[in-house]
Amino acid sequence: QAVLNADYTLTQFRFLQRLLLVHGRWSYRRIAFFLRYFLYKTCSFALVHIWFGFFNGFSAQSLYENWFIVLYTVFYTATPVECLAIFEQDVSAQGSLSCPELYKVGQRQELFNPWLLTATLLYAIYTSLVLFFMPLGVFHNSALDYQTMAVTINMATVFSVTIELVLLTRHWTKWNVVAVCVSLSMFFLCTLITQSRKLFEMSPVDYYFPGVAQNAFCSPVVWLTALLTTWTTVLPSFTVHALNIILTNPDKRKVHNTNDRPVELQRSGFRRGASQRRSSYAVSQGRGIGRLITSEGSLRSTVPPVDRGGTTSDTATLGMLNLRQRLESDG
C-alpha cells in the first residue's frame, strides 16, 4: 500500500545512493536550467511588444506574424531545451557517487533561487530591448516595411535563444545536436511555408504575409541586422561564461596526493553526516568542492557569483580542480 502511494519506491537502501546523488542531483540541475531558460526565451520574445507600443500608439499591434508566435514555442525552441532537460549531466554518474558534496548545490538552492530568477528576467528584458531597438535603428526612416522587420526580428530572436541554449548545454549527445539543427531549419522552412504564395491564395486571411520570407531571406540588410542583433543580445552571456572560465581555469600542476583521494572516497561510502567530520578528508576542509565545481558548471547565472575572490583563494582549491579533471575524465 505504501508502494502504491509513494512517488519513489526502493527495495534496498543501497538504491538510495544512486537515486539521490546521481539522478536527484542531475534532476535538480536539469529542472533549474529548463525553467530559467523557458522564462528567458518566452519573456525575450514577448516583451518586444511593449517597446513597439511606444511607436504604434500603444494599439497592441503585434510585431510578429501569428504563425511565428504559434510555432516559436512548438517547433523552433522546444526540442533543444527538451534535450537539455533529458540529457544534461555536469559530472558523470561515477563522479556524482564519489563526490557526494556536489549534492549540497541543491540543498543550498544555488541553481534556482529568487535572485537567479530575477537575473534571468532582467536578462530577458535586456534581450528584448536589443531585439527591438536594433532593428528600429535600421528600419526607422527607411523604405523597408513592417513585414520585413517582423521577419528580421523573428530571425534574431530564434538565433539568440538558440545560441543561449548552446552556451547552456555542457553535455552534447547526438540528440542535442540534431535538435538544435532541426529547430533552426524548421524556423526557415516553416517561415517560408507559411509565407508562401500557395497558402496565401488558399486563405488570405490566415496567411497574410505572402512573399515576405522569400524577399527577406535574400536581403543582406535583413541578415546583417539579425546577426548583429543576435550577437549583441548574447554578449552578456558570453562575457559571464568567459569570466567564469578564466577565473576558474584549472592549473596544469597536479597536487602530489591526488591519487589517494578517489580511493579514500570510495572507501568512505555514504554515511550520514560522516563526510563533514572527517578531518583527513581534504575536500571538505575548504569551502567545499561543490561550490567550485558547480560555479564553473553553473555558468548559466548571468550575474557573476558574489564571492569570487573567496573561492579562488581557497587553499584546497587546487586539489579540487584536479579532482574535477579526474572526475570528468572518468566519465
Binding site: 536594433m134 535603428g137 486571411v205 546583417l224
Partner: protein, 354 residues
C-alpha cells in the same frame, strides 16, 4: 525511478540496459579554457569592426537629398488650402526648387516620405481586405467587416478597395524638371513608375477580379471608390491601362505598411535611357512641380521628397555600420578586460597556493 525486483522470478520489470535509458549516451563536453575563449572575443571584435568599416564605406558612397515640402515656398498656400475639408475637390499645385551639387551616379530612386503617420496602428493595419485585393469576386462586392467604417459608401455601394489603409492612400504627384546651366530648354526628368513594388505583391497579393471580355470599368461596376479618393480604382492611371485596378503600383506600394511613423516609399526610378540622364542625375537646378493633395495638418505630419542613389545595402542609413563599429569596439574592450582578469587572477593567481 523505483526499481522493484520480483522476488523470486526473472527481473522482468527492470528498465533496459540501453545507453539511452541508463543515461550513458556518448557525449561531448566542451572543456573551455582561457586559450580558446580570449581569442574568440578578439576575433569577433575584429570581425565586427571590419564589417562596420566596410558597410560604412558602402553607405557613404550613396547620395541622398531630402526636401521637406509641407510648407516650403508656394506649397504653403496649398497647405492652408488642404486644412479645409471642403477644398478637397480643388486641385492645388506648387513648385519647390532644389539644387544638386554632384552627379548622382547610377540608378537614382525617388521617394516620398511621411513623418508622424502611424501606419503601424493596429486598427489601421487590420482595416483592409486582402481577399478582395486578391481578386476574389465573392469579396469584391462583399468586403470584410474589418474594413469598418469604409465598407459601404453613403449610397450603400460596397467600396473597392475597402478599408482605412486604401482610403488614406498618398495621392501627391511629382513632376521633376531639370534646368541645365546654359540657355537650353528645361528637360522633364523621366521616371519609371512601374516596377516599384515587389514581384509577389504585384502578381500574387494584388490581382484584379477576373475579366471575361469586360473592361476594368465594367468589372468594378456596382462598387464605389473610397471616400477620400478623387478617382475610382479602375482609373488611377489614365496613361497606362495595365496600371489600373488593384494592381496599380502606387496603391500596392502604399498598402505595404511601414513599421514606424517616419517612413519613405518608392515613387519612381530614374529612366536613364536618354540624355542627359544616362549617367544619373546631373548637377544643377531642379524644380519639382507637386500636385498637393494629401493633407497632413490633421496629424501634425510632414511630407518630404527624397532623391537617393542605392547600393546593395540600401539607401543612406548609417545606423547599422555605426552599430557594428560600436559593438566591435565594445567587444574589444571586453576582450581586453578579460585578458587583464586572466593575467591577474586566472593564470597564476591565488589558486596556486596550497
Amino acid at each position: 525511478m523505483g526499481k522493484t525486483k520480483d522476488n523470486p522470478g526473472p527481473l522482468s520489470r527492470r528498465p533496459d540496459n540501453s545507453a539511452f535509458k541508463q543515461q550513458r549516451l556518448p557525449a561531448w563536453s566542451p572543456m573551455l579554457t582561457a586559450n580558446s575563449v580570449l581569442p574568440f572575443f578578439y576575433i569577433m571584435a575584429v570581425v565586427c569592426v571590419l564589417l562596420g568599416v566596410w558597410l560604412l564605406i558602402t553607405v557613404q558612397n550613396t547620395h541622398q537629398l531630402k526636401l521637406d515640402y509641407t510648407q516650403a515656398g508656394s506649397c504653403n498656400i496649398c497647405f492652408e488650402k488642404r486644412k479645409v475639408r471642403a477644398n478637397a475637390n480643388q486641385d492645388c499645385k506648387c513648385t519647390v526648387v532644389l539644387n544638386i551639387g554632384n552627379t548622382f551616379k547610377g540608378d537614382v530612386f525617388f521617394y516620398y516620405g511621411l513623418m508622424n503617420f502611424h501606419q503601424n496602428l493596429r486598427q489601421y493595419m487590420d482595416s483592409r481586405d486582402d481577399a478582395q485585393m486578391m481578386g476574389r469576386t465573392a469579396n469584391l462586392k462583399n468586403p470584410s467587416a474589418y474594413c469598418k467604417p469604409y465598407i459601404t459608401d453613403d449610397h450603400g455601394l460596397p467600396i473597392a478597395p475597402c478599408g482605412a489603409v486604401a482610403n488614406s492612400m498618398f495621392n501627391d504627384s511629382f513632376k521633376l524638371t531639370y534646368h541645365s546651366a546654359e540657355g537650353s530648354p528645361d528637360v522633364h526628368v523621366p521616371l519609371f513608375r512601374k516596377g516599384i513594388s515587389w514581384y509577389t505583391d504585384k502578381n500574387v497579393k494584388f490581382r484584379n477580379p477576373k475579366i471575361n471580355n469586360e473592361t476594368l470599368t465594367q468589372v468594378f461596376e456596382g462598387t464605389a471608390r473610397p471616400p477620400y479618393w478623387q478617382k475610382p480604382v479602375y482609373n488611377l492611371d489614365p496613361l497606362d491601362p495595365n496600371n489600373n485596378g488593384f494592381t496599380n503600383e502606387d496603391l500596392i506600394v502604399w498598402m505595404r505598411e511601414a513599421a514606424f511613423p517616419n517612413f519613405k516609399k518608392l515613387y519612381g526610378v530614374l529612366n536613364r535611357a536618354s540624355k542627359p540622364f544616362t549617367e544619373g542625375l546631373p548637377p544643377g537646378n531642379y524644380t519639382i512641380e507637386i500636385s498637393y493633395n494629401f493633407p497632413v495638418e490633421y496629424f501634425q505630419g510632414r511630407k518630404e521628397v527624397i532623391i537617393s542613389t542605392i547600393s546593395w545595402f540600401g539607401g543612406q542609413n548609417n545606423f547599422l555600420p555605426i552599430a557594428y563599429l560600436v559593438t566591435g569596439c565594445l567587444v574589444l574592450l571586453l576582450a581586453i578586460i578579460l585578458t587583464v582578469f586572466w593575467w591577474k587572477f586566472g593564470k597564476n593567481g591565488q589558486n596556486m597556493e596550497e
